[in-house]
């Protein structure tokens, strides 16, 4: 059975709409399914639904590249890829069944595989973009190696739609691993977990995910039958059934509370900064979810000192800045970049920071 995606091109309509908004001095909030709308600052602009713009432009599994309109449903695309035993290497979370490709790229959120396979940015090869002047621009392409012009397509990843509407995107895909195994280890401290996972990184083990929570350390191995079997025999631990999407989609009990949830990003080998606090640690130590710290300012100071940053991910007070503050010169540079794409500030104004 083959998945069939809708094929609807509303590029012209969107272009006219943006020209109209630009002329009238308006602003829009770009909305797909709304599954990740919580991410970033809240907006007061007029919602502009772009989810109808969908369809596959090109997919030839042997090229390892798929080109899609941004309104395509992530779930459908992943099913389609799976039919050809391929997948997105960055394991994107959906946070809702309607999640779109555009939202995936704009938020740049990646899953457990991120630390071992790369980010969405690493896999994006090209975009077609509608800018704030109503122009359709194309950057990058559909080939893996491409150094013609500045790499604008990857700049769109994580820009939260503030630079324009992503119309199409070309993304590199990877083969599905032949097999996967999850190993569990009990009574492990945060520091032991971090040290151990990073030590393992110096050996060519096929590790594709790691997680620590509540004294339990998990590792996922993915790869060829032989490679995984060999590694699993060497690493010991208890082989368990574990659904990694539970952590990726934040459906674990840990995420069920409605207290402030912070995403702490740190150089992975940083020792435990929050001993005794409620944490869930992914990405070999680079991504640490922290519950219940309402005083995010203090957390930010401490984390910044260690070379990291903190995002107020969910349930924080409305006046808490969502993203880690930028240094003034960097903020100015980024405002100028925003203005170069969107001179009058139409798209998602203030979604990332004031002025961008």
């Amino acid at each position: 059975m083959t998945v069939v995606l809708d094929d609807v091109d509303i590029e012209r309509t969107l272009q006219e709409k943006i020209a109209e908004v630009a002329a009238s001095g308006g602003q829009v909030e770009i909305v797909g399914s709304g599954s990740k709308r919580f991410y970033g600052e809240s907006l007061e602009a007029m919602p502009l639904d772009v989810s109808a713009h969908c369809g596959i432009i090109d997919y030839d599994p042997a090229e390892l590249v798929i080109t899609l309109r941004a309104g395509c449903k992530l779930a459908q695309v992943e099913t389609l890829l799976a039919e050809r035993r391929q997948m997105f290497g960055f394991e994107p979370p959906r946070f809702g069944e309607g999640a779109t490709i555009g939202g995936m790229v704009a938020t740049g959120l990646a899953g457990p595989r991120r630390a071992f396979a790369g980010s969405i940015r690493d896999f994006v090869l090209g975009v077609k973009l509608l800018d704030g002047r109503g122009q359709v621009l194309q950057f990058g392409g559909r080939v893996i190696k491409n150094v013609a012009g500045f790499d604008v397509s990857r700049l769109m990843v994580g820009a939260l739609g503030t630079l324009g509407i992503i119309l199409e995107v070309s993304i590199r895909v990877v083969p599905q691993p032949e097999t996967e195994v999850t190993l569990a280890y009990e009574h492990v401290s945060v520091d032991e977990h971090i040290r151990w996972v990073n030590c393992l990184g110096s050996e060519p083990y096929p590790i594709s995910a790691s997680l620590w929570h509540d004294g339990r350390s998990l590792l996922r191995l993915s790869g060829s039958e032989q490679g995984v079997r060999e590694a699993s025999a060497q690493l010991g631990g208890e082989e368990i059934e574990w659904d990694w999407s539970e952590a990726n989609e934040q459906r674990l009990d840990f995420f069920g509370r409605s207290e402030p949830l912070s995403r702490v990003s740190l150089p992975p080998t940083t020792p435990d900064l929050f001993p005794g606090k409620s944490q869930l640690i992914e990405w070999g130590g680079a991504q640490r979810w922290l519950f219940g710290e309402a005083d995010i300012g203090a957390v930010r100071d401490e984390v910044a000192g260690a070379g990291g940053s903190v995002c107020a991910f969910r349930h924080h007070a409305p006046d808490v800045p969502r993203f880690h503050p930028l240094a003034p010169a960097m903020l100015t540079l980024q405002r100028n970049i925003k203005a170069s794409f969107d001179p009058v500030g139409i798209f998602n104004p203030g979604k990332l920071y004031a002025g961008l």
Binding site: G108, G149, Q226, P268, A286
Partner: protein, 487 residues
């Protein structure tokens, strides 16, 4: 007059740089007048060799004050003229900033200065069982700063990525002399991700003064299989078939008959000189994993019509198989007075069509072409054989090269996979990008460098230049300027 200006400027820079680190003598300046693309030459006013970040900042501040163009230079191995000097500017060489500052074994990172050679990083960490993955063919000489400026690739990109995928942090001195940092050691970015903008920006957005690279564990085992084919099409299809099997080779390279012959003549790798194409496919991983995969690859190659498959029986033979491919450029250099290397990328499925058209063009121009191909990632390097001493032959070679690049665009590819635009491919940039897209590049550049003193005249052509280029290259009966929207 210009000599006077040169001496006056030298005095200003010597206020903070050691005497010998300001090169102002014509004979010494000649060393810097070109990079790896030696057909283009220009003498700069001065060459400056700062020894640390503070000196780089002073250089940039003075250059800004004097509105002096600054061309950054690493080892000068660019194949696109990215480090070609500006006649009225300075060359800022990072060659003296060549220290490895820190290796963090647990985090598998190294912090290095921009002048450190690519291969020197791997050499410094080999005892720890680690290496730096991107391996451009110039890796013995090229610097990491230059790799960042060009987003250098190499033979192992398909599996291990480009420079972009192997850099965790950059410290950059901007055009205003101020320093900024892009730190992604935490695998996260706050605000816009400037890393992909900086990497591959050809020295136009800032001067990189410190690079944090990712190190990988050296694979336990690497083995190579060679497939011999009587047509390039079968070889190309076999690459697709290997990937359809779900195998990502560490490297997969293709050579056509002229390239095979030249290489065999040079290094005696025991290549089959009658073959129309060979594929060299390397797999890495653990012993068992590689054994299992290499069998599958051999099966795919035979099913794809390989006349013969050869498995390197030991490490010596593996290196021998590679030696011909790695020596392909100098090998071609031996059979022709000059050669011109093209760097287009195409979707792999277009390979047969593109190679057929390249052959037709080669005959039409009377210039032989040998092809080597990073088959896994679609990066094609046709080498045009010519003789610069024959009047007009360089011009015809460039014209042929330009046609090949346009062919790559036509097939949905790009004009440069890993060598950069530099001074060389400005004309083709006018074809690949629209005015609006190029304007966006210019606008981005001005965000970083409002006075446009960093590597001016490279990478992104001006509107005027493109109007001129496109006017000269009217396609099949179309009116001139069909897509130009201005005046």
């Amino acid at each position: 007059m210009s000599e006077l200006r040169r001496q006056q400027l030298a005095v200003r820079f010597r206020e903070f740089l050691p005497e010998d680190n300001v090169i102002d003598q014509r004979t010494s300046l000649a060393t810097y007048e070109c990079d790896g693309l030696s057909a283009y030459r220009e003498q700069p006013l001065l060459v400056l060799l700062p020894e640390d970040t503070a000196q780089v900042r002073q250089v940039m501040r003075l250059c800004r004050e004097l509105r002096l163009p600054v061309v950054g230079r690493g080892a000068g191995t660019s194949l696109s003229g990215g480090a070609l000097p500006h006649a009225d500017g300075v060359v800022l060489s990072l060659a003296k900033m060549n220290r490895i500052l820190e290796v963090d074994e647990l985090a598998r990172t190294a912090v290095v200065e921009p002048g450190v050679r690519n291969l020197a990083i791997s050499e410094a960490v080999v005892a720890k069982g680690l290496y730096y993955a991107p391996d451009p063919s110039s890796q013995i000489a090229c610097s990491i700063g230059g790799n960042v400026a060009e987003n250098a690739g190499g033979v192992h990109c398909l599996k291990y990525g480009l420079t972009l995928h192997n850099i965790l942090a950059l410290k950059v001195v901007g055009a205003d002399g101020e320093m900024f940092e892009i730190d992604q050691r935490s695998l996260h970015t706050d605000g816009y991700d400037l890393m992909p903008l900086l990497i591959g920006s050809e020295g136009m957005l800032g001067i990189v003064v410190e690079v944090t690279v990712k190190l990988l564990p050296i694979p336990r085992c690497a083995r190579v299989v060679m497939g011999v084919f009587d047509s390039v099409e079968k070889a190309g299809d076999s690459v697709a078939a290997i990937i359809a099997e779900g195998i990502i080779p560490a490297g997969i390279e293709m050579m056509d008959n002229p390239a095979i012959r030249a290489a065999e003549d040079f290094v005696h790798a025991n290549y089959p000189i009658e073959a129309e194409a060979i594929l060299i496919c390397e797999l890495d991983g653990t012993e068992q994993e590689v054994s299992a995969q290499i069998e599958r690859v051999e099966r795919v190659l035979r099913a794809g019509g390989a006349i013969e498959t050869r498995l390197a029986k030991d490490e010596a033979e593996r290196l021998l198989f590679w030696s011909g491919r790695k020596a392909a450029f100098p090998a071609v250099g031996r059979i022709s007075p000059d050669y011109y290397c093209i760097d287009g990328t195409i979707p792999r499925k277009s390979l047969a069509a593109v190679l057929a058209e390249v052959r037709r063009l080669s005959e039409q121009y009377g210039l032989p072409v040998a092809n080597v191909f990073h088959a896994g990632d679609g990066n094609l390097h046709p080498l045009i054989l010519y003789d610069a001493n024959i009047e007009g032959e360089l011009e015809r070679t460039e014209e042929l090269g330009s046609k090949i690049l346009k062919l790559c665009i036509h097939h949905g590819g790009t004009i440069t996979g890993e060598h950069g635009v530099g001074i060389e491919k400005l004309g083709e940039m006018c074809v690949q990008f629209s005015d609006a897209e190029r304007n966006q590049f210019h606008a981005l550049r001005e965000c970083f460098d409002p006075l446009k003193i960093l590597n001016p005249g490279k990478a992104i052509p001006t509107l005027a230049r493109c109007a001129e280029h496109n006017a000269m290259h009217v396609r099949g009966g179309e009116l001139p300027f069909p897509e130009l929207e201005r005046f």
